[in-house]
Amino acid sequence: MTIEPAAARDTGYNFAYLNEQTKKMIRRALLKAVAIPGYQVPFASREMPMPYGWGTGGVQVTASVLTPEDVLKVIDQGADDTTNAVSIRKFFKRTAGVATTEATAEASVIQTRHRIPEQKLTSDQILVYQVPIPEPLRFLEPRETETRKMHAFEDYGLMHVKLYEDISQHGHIATTYAYPVKVEGRYVMDPSPTPKFDNPKMDNCAALQLFGAGREKRIYALPPFTSVVSLDFEDHPFEVQAWEHPCELCGARDTYLDEVIVDDEGGRMFVCSDTDYCASRRQAVSEAAE
C-alpha cells in the first residue's frame, strides 16, 4: 500500500491548524454552498501560514472538512511531488496527523490546484479546489455590485461576449483554463485554473466538489451528481483538448498530457500530467508481464 499512515500531530496547534470557531464558520459557508450549487458564498477568510497563491482558500476548506480518519492527497498540476503539493501535505501531516497518499483511489480528501485526477472519483471522496479568481464575470465587469446582480438575475449574456471575442480573435474558443460552466442550469461558475479538459469530469461527479478562494474570500460547491455544462455556441461547440500522440510513458490516449524536457539537449516528450495515474498504469502492465 502507498498510504503513509496517520501519525502524532503537533499538539501546539488545534487539529488541522484552524480553531474550532473558524472551522464552524467555514462549514456553515460550505453547507450554504452545497445547498446552492455554483453560488459564491462569502466567508471570513483567515490568514494562513503560507502566501496567497499557495492555496490558502483550499487549505481552509480542507482544514474544515478533515477528520482524523481521513487519507489526504494533494496535487499541483497533476503531480503529488511539486513544491506546493508537498508543503500542503506536510502542513496537514504536522497539524492534523492524518494519513496521506499519492494514490487517488486511496484518498478520502484530495486537494488540487489545477487537475482533476484521471481516475473516476467516488461518492466516498471530497475534491477540494484552490481557487485564485472565483468570479467568471470579472473579465468584462469589474464592479462587484454589478456582477452580483448579474448572478442574481441570471443575466449571463456577458459570458458569451467573452467567448465571442475568443472566436473572433482566434477562430475558435481559445480559453483552455478556467472555462466557464453553468451549474444545474442556474449559476455560471468559474472552474478556476482547472484546464477545460477536466470540465466534463465535474459533470455528474460522484464526489463532493468544494472550491475555496482565500484572497477573494469566496466558497462554492458542487454536490455529488450535479449537472455541469460548459458554455459554448451552437456552431462552436465545447471541445476538450486532444493530443496527437499517446502518453510516451504509459501509452494512454485519453489523458491530459504535459510536455516535459527530458535532457540537456532540449529533448521533449509528452507524458500524463496525472503522475499517479500514469505510474499505476505502468505498474499494471509490468505486473501482467510477470
Partner: protein
C-alpha cells in the same frame, strides 16, 4: 383610439436642495420623436434618466405601454426593468465611453444585446453585427477592432448600432451629437434621422441644441429651472414660441 407609448405624470427629482425636475407630466405617442431642449442645468438629463429607469425619482409615475399592457417603470422588479432595457428600450449616452465596452471589439459591442437575449449561434451574431456596422456606415473590416481605435463620431455610431440591433420600440438619447465636431455632427444627425424614420422608432432626444431638435423631433418640450415651460409641435414652437424664455431661446439661435 390609440394609447400612448409612455406616460409621465407629476415627476419630481431633487438632489439635496437642488430641484432638478419639478412636477413634469407628458405623454409620448407611438412613432413620435420628442425633443427636450433647454439650457445646461435645466434638468433634461435627470428627466431622461428617471424615465429610463436609471435613477429613482422622488415622486411621480412613469407608465410604459409594452405589448403586454401598462408597466409602472419604478414599481417593476429590477430583473423586469433590465429585461425591458435590453429588449424594447435603448439608451444612447452622450459619451460613447459610457455606452460602449471599450475592452472588447466592435463586433462584440454590437452583438452583446443579441447574446443577452439568448442568441447562441456565432455566425448569426456576426452577420447581424456586420449588417449593423454597414447600417451605421462603419467599414466592415473594422469589426474586430477595439472601439478605442475609432474616432469620436465612429464610436457614437457604434453605440447607436449596439443599441438598435434588437429593434427597440423606444430609444432614449442624451445629447447624441454632443462632443462632436460640427461636420461630424451633421452626418450623425442625418444617420439618426434616417434610422429613426426607417425603423419607425419612438424616441426622446435631449439636447441643448435647437438645431438638433429641429432636425430630429416632431414635438418639442422646453425646460427651464426644472420645469417644462412650453410644449408643442416642433415647427409651432420654433415659429411661434409662446413663453418669453422660449422666445429668447429661439431668437438667440436664429441670430447665429
Amino acid at each position: 383610439m390609440t394609447t400612448p407609448l409612455l406616460s409621465v405624470s407629476g415627476l419630481h427629482k431633487s438632489f439635496g436642495r437642488t430641484v432638478a425636475c419639478d412636477d413634469i407630466s407628458f405623454d409620448l405617442w407611438p412613432g413620435e420623436v420628442l425633443g427636450i431642449v433647454g439650457e445646461s442645468g435645466s434638468g433634461k438629463t435627470t428627466l431622461l434618466r428617471s424615465i429610463a429607469g436609471l435613477i429613482e425619482p422622488d415622486a411621480g409615475e412613469i407608465s410604459y405601454y409594452s405589448g403586454e399592457g401598462a408597466l409602472d417603470v419604478h414599481d417593476m422588479s429590477e430583473p423586469e426593468l433590465r429585461r425591458l432595457q435590453r429588449t424594447e428600450w435603448a439608451f444612447v449616452h452622450q459619451h460613447p465611453r459610457d455606452g460602449l465596452r471599450l475592452n472588447v471589439s466592435a463586433g462584440a459591442n454590437i452583438g452583446e444585446r443579441l447574446m443577452a437575449n439568448d442568441w447562441r449561434h456565432y455566425d448569426n451574431i456576426r452577420s447581424e453585427a456586420l449588417k449593423w456596422l454597414a447600417a451605421v456606415e462603419i467599414d466592415e473590416a473594422r469589426i474586430d477592432d477595439l472601439p478605442r481605435t475609432f474616432s469620436g463620431g465612429m464610436q457614437q455610431r457604434l453605440q447607436i448600432a449596439r443599441n438598435l440591433i434588437t429593434s427597440p420600440r423606444l430609444v432614449f438619447m442624451d445629447e447624441p451629437t454632443g462632443g462632436l465636431d460640427v461636420s461630424v455632427q451633421a452626418r450623425l444627425l442625418d444617420l439618426i434621422r434616417s434610422l429613426v424614420r426607417d425603423l419607425g422608432l419612438s424616441a426622446i432626444v435631449v439636447t441643448h441644441d435647437l438645431a438638433v431638435a429641429r432636425l430630429l423631433s416632431t414635438r418639442l418640450m422646453v425646460m427651464k429651472d426644472a420645469r417644462v415651460i412650453e410644449q408643442g409641435l416642433t415647427d409651432q414652437v420654433l415659429e411661434d414660441p409662446q413663453a418669453a424664455y422660449s422666445q429668447l431661446l429661439v431668437s438667440s439661435v436664429l441670430q447665429v
